[in-house]
Structure formats: structure tokens, C-alpha cells
Homo-oligomer: 205 residues x 2
């Protein structure tokens, strides 16, 4: 019996290199869930094969800044002169349809979302050890050792922000982390603050 | 990886006839969990075959009142001139050992526990409909129709107290309700307020 018909906004976040993307992909592969991606808005040009409204919402700088001004970005950042952000109206639409919207973002972005969507579920993905995080960063052979040291230092700062999240899930094994996230989603739907109104409505019928 | 080494106090509660006992039994049958009962203290005499410290802690009225006076009862009630209650020290011991202590109690008792153990997890077991609750009460052939009407009226009052609980789980199907409770236990252990201290300790090692 489903009491909470609105979907959840699930923010999966954590330091760079922790394996957020791997967990998110494994989570979507599990059956029986009504998960959906949040699609970002960006001012960068589409690469070959990228489709507007699917990979990104591709917009002009003027349009992005207008959306920003009217408060329609749950979070945003600027990289190499291009904006990237999460449009609030698109997320709200999906939540209303009952979809669980998964937002896989950096810690900075998650803290921005937290200020705007108190009702979202914030999950901090944490490395099982500093060595594990370092070896993951080293194995991405695109990074130089300077960048790796910088990322590790950033991660040490970022785990202090875990206290702003609702849950902490250690990425010791991907499937184990996914099990925990699924348990969190189930539990959150059973929370009185989300389900009680629906229950009282059901009992009045 | 276990970050929260302390067990949880899990309060399973709801109206009379909702099926709390059935759910609790089915929950304990599931493998891979570290659940334990809370044993009540009572002033009534042991029935044949009942063992002190296993079925109940059997105590004198004076002993019970002394425990009450020193604040060692998480909840208590008096039925037919006998006291029944949950001794706090015994519960705390088990939690320290890492056991999840399950307390299956009436709504009145749960509200007493809530005032004393803010850290406990409160789960309200709710009937899927008034008809379902009524037919469960009717099937307990020990009750007269007067008692059934009285219990239904009490239940209508009690579901208003669900808002004091953390979670609401509808007993539509026992195994389904048990799945939800297990998800709640997993999620609660991953809560930052319970797990973060352990995580920081781990990362400092």
C-alpha cells in the first residue's frame, strides 16, 4: 500500500573519486524502483550525439542567468566559463509524477540543494579509508599526482560536511552500498512526516 | 562495515488487534539480524512453566515500586491489580552489547518510552482499513461485541497518536510489513546522527 504518492528527491553526493557514479548506475540497474535522473542545464555546446532534454538542457548564457535570477536552480556551478545546474521546475514535475529523482552531485552542490529543498534525502557516500580513495584517484590515469593530492585534501575537508547530510553510506562494496540506499528509500517513504497524511485520507474513505 | 556499534531500541506499537505480535514474531524469524526481546517486569505470579528472567522478571510490589521511584521503568501500566513494565537498565545493557532491542507495546506505553528515550525508533503498526481491524478483533473469539466496539473506538483515538512516531507501517501483509521494518532498521543505522562519530574515528585510525 503506497501512502506517500510523491516521489523523493535523493541527493547522492560525496568527495570526488568516491564512486558516486558507479553506485548511481548500479542503483538504476536494480528492478522494482521508480527512479529517474535529474537532467542538468548547461551553457556549454552539445557534443556530438548529445541530445537536448536528454543528456542536458542546452541553453544560452542569458537563459541560464535568467533561470538563476528567478530562483529556478537547485544548485549550480561554473566550470571553464560554462554554467551547469539543476533546474528546480523539472525536478518538481517528476516528483509530482511519483518518481524518485536521483541527483548525483558534488558536496558543494548538495549543500546548495539542502538550503532549498529541506524535504530531500541527503546521502553522503564515503570512502572506506583514505588509501582506498587515493587508489581510486590514482587509477583514473587522467589525473596528475598534484591533482590527486589536491583532491585528497579537498575530500578531507568535504567529509566534515557529512554532518549536514541525513545518511552516510560507505562505498566498501558497490552492491552493499546500493542495498543501503534502497533501504533508505523504503524507510523514508514510511516516515510519518511523509506518509501520515495519506494514511488518514485512506482511513476516512 | 559497521559504524554504529550500539543497538537500536525499536518500539513496535499500534492499536489492539492490529497484529503487532504476529509482525514481531515474523521479524524475529528473519535471518541475519541481531534482534532481542525486551523482558518485562511484573508483580503478577509466574504461571506454570514461566521462568524468571526469561518470560518476565517476577518481582514483588515493593520492588516494582522502588524501581519506578528510581526512574528505572521506560513504561509501565497496571492491569487487574498487577504492575507490568519495561526495566530501563536491562534494555540499556543489551543496546550496549550491540543488540537491537524490540519493544512490542501498546500506544500508551510507547508514548511513555518516547518521553524517556528520544533515540529510540518508533514504528506505528496501522490497520489497512477499519474493516480489517474489526474482522481481526471479531476473529479473536474471546472478545464480546461490546469489547470489540470499545477497542475500535480506542483504535480510532490511537491512530491520532501516530504523529508522535517516526514511521508508519501498514499491516496489509505480514511479510511486507516485516520487509519495511528491516529497511527502517538498516536506514536508521546509516543515519549520520548515529554513524558519523564511528566514521570519523575509523578515518583517523
Amino acid at each position: 500500500m503506497k501512502l506517500n504518492e510523491k516521489g523523493l528527491l535523493i541527493v547522492i553526493s560525496g568527495p570526488s573519486g568516491v564512486g558516486k557514479g558507479t553506485i548511481r548506475k548500479a542503483l538504476f540497474k536494480r528492478a522494482g524502483h521508480n527512479l529517474d535522473f535529474s537532467i542538468s542545464m548547461t551553457t556549454r555546446s552539445p557534443r556530438e550525439g548529445e541530445i537536448d532534454g536528454q543528456d542536458y538542457y542546452f541553453v544560452t548564457k542569458e537563459k541560464f542567468e535568467a533561470e538563476l535570477a528567478r530562483g529556478n536552480l537547485l544548485e549550480h556551478a561554473k566550470f571553464v566559463n560554462n554554467y551547469y545546474g539543476t533546474p528546480k521546475d523539472k525536478v518538481m514535475e517528476k516528483l509530482k509524477e511519483g518518481k524518485e529523482v536521483v541527483l548525483e552531485i558534488e558536496v558543494q552542490g548538495a549543500l546548495q540543494v539542502k538550503a532549498k529543498m529541506q524535504d530531500a534525502v541527503f546521502i553522503f557516500i564515503a570512502p572506506p579509508s583514505w588509501e582506498a580513495l587515493e587508489s581510486r584517484l590514482v587509477n583514473r590515469d587522467t589525473e596528475t599526482s598534484d591533482i590527486i593530492i589536491e583532491r585528497l585534501n579537498k575530500a578531507k575537508n568535504e567529509i566534515m560536511f557529512a554532518s549536514s547530510y541525513d545518511y552516510i553510506v560507505i562505498n566498501d562494496e558497490v552492491e552493499n552500498a546500493v542495498d543501503k540506499i534502497i533501504a533508505i528509500i523504503r524507510a523514508e517513504h514510511a516516515k510519518c512526516k511523509r506518509a501520515l497524511e495519506g494514511y488518514y485520507r485512506l482511513m476516512e474513505e
